[in-house]
Amino acid sequence: MSPRGEVLASARDVWKSFDAGRITVLQGADIEVRAGEIVALWGSSGSGKSTLLHLLGGLDVPDRGELAVCGLNPQIEADRLTLRRQHLGFVFQLHNLIPDLTVRENIRVPALATGRPVGETEERVRALATKVGLGHRLDHRIQDLSGGERQRTAICRALLNAPRLLLADEPTGSLDEKTGGTVFALLKQLAEEEHIAVLLATHERRFAEECHRILQVRDGRLSEV
């Protein structure tokens, strides 16, 4: 059952097209994500799940429509920075970690943008790494990790600044079934422990069914399942 907290993110009649309007991906999409919720955006590849996450995260701008995240407008640069530094965390299908850096250094990256004190950051890094079972791997380089470990590192990085909303774009998409299941369970567990809302884009029904709500993305529109 879905918790009924305050609305953290909303999209109203959002449209987005690519290739000079030739490919329309979102056609009047509407969504609301409340505090503490884990919402699945479920749909086939290319249905517009990632695009909606990018718009909510301020990584892209819609052709039209209204967006609001944590009371801020992700289309405004200053708001975007505040969102990314304080309120949002991102996890991608590919971990998008920085090669050659260690697990510790990768998890710390968001703290560099905010200038968070080193000691405090280090404490948080340790705590998160321990929670995801990477406490003993902190000084290992990314190249030395398995796919699942890399994705767990990426989750820690996304959670470092204690965001209120986590945008997860197919976080299990590049993992095998078993590892994917482990990573999803971990993500869900952390979200609940840290009271973080999650908007999860996935094409796998089994993960969508474990979320509080499922929104199916089809033909650029969203419908509750």
Partner: protein
Amino acid sequence: MRLLSLVFLNLRRHRLRAMIGVAGISFGVAAMLTILAIVTGAIGMFERILSSDSHYLVFERNVSDLFFSSVTSAQVAAIRAQPEVAEAHPMLFGIVSSPGHPVITCFGIEAGDPRLKRADWRAGSRSDFGARKGEIFLGARAAEFLGAKAGETIEIGRGTFKVGGILRNENGFEDGGVFLPLAEAQDFFHRGDAASVVAVTLRERSRGPEFKRAIESAHPGIIGLENREFSQSYNSFKILNFTAWAVGICSFFLGGLGVANTMLLSVFGRIREIAVLRVCGFSERQVAALIVGEAAAIALAGLVVGFALGLTGLAILEHTPQFQGYVQATIPPLVVLGIIATALVTAAAGAVYPARFAARIQPAEALRYE
């Protein structure tokens, strides 16, 4: 871990690229340092030859080079007759050659010339100078490279001379040169009774303007300049200085292109990574600062390596016998500051486009195609 540490981490991760950038800058620094130090040192040595503790230099007006200047013995006498003048020492410059040594500077001077007094006589003595006809006196380094000893006969130009003495001089040009009594030099170079310059010491330095006015109005063909004034206005010095700075700055452009290339490659190879930094909350300014910081670190490392290389190169040149002691590097603070400023400006200029490009990377665009 602050932004600076990410700068160093990135340089460490892309060490080969960073090292190429450092090599480019250090090449520029070393080249500029070497060229400027040699030219500044050479100008300094030449200035000291000319001034020789004097206050004024008198030479022919409007000559392009002092080697072509003629101050007649009558004019020298008139200078000496001026009440402001304590001493006046004429000197004739010439270039001679000997087998295996195409360029040897020759100085025609009088026996009372202060440089003979100052010199450390290795063979013979000052009283021998001009005492016997057909004798020349060698700077210690000239004696070395000519393989000549006092009393031996050597061939200089079309003449054969006996070595009357050998004198050690601090000035590289003088130490690598040949001294002749003025009258013999005038005869040897077919210059009649002319000297190239006259170094004038005044009784009171403050009376310089009076001396200058008197001598220039009585002899419109000659000009008197204070030593400092001369150094600043002498065309050959200006050309040398300009050339040195121009060559040095050109070599820096190469280094700058190296940095630009390194940084561009670095940015192009990290588009996705930079997009992730933006997603993690880095502002456009922070991304640009990261790239500029990497370029600045490359420039600083290049400066350190370049100065080390340049100083080592200069030390080797100074002790290379083939240079006959003509290399006496001088590194004034202005040159050091100029090199540092050029290196930093070049690196910054090389980083502008990559930094701008990096700051404008659109995260969604960069991350879309996974």
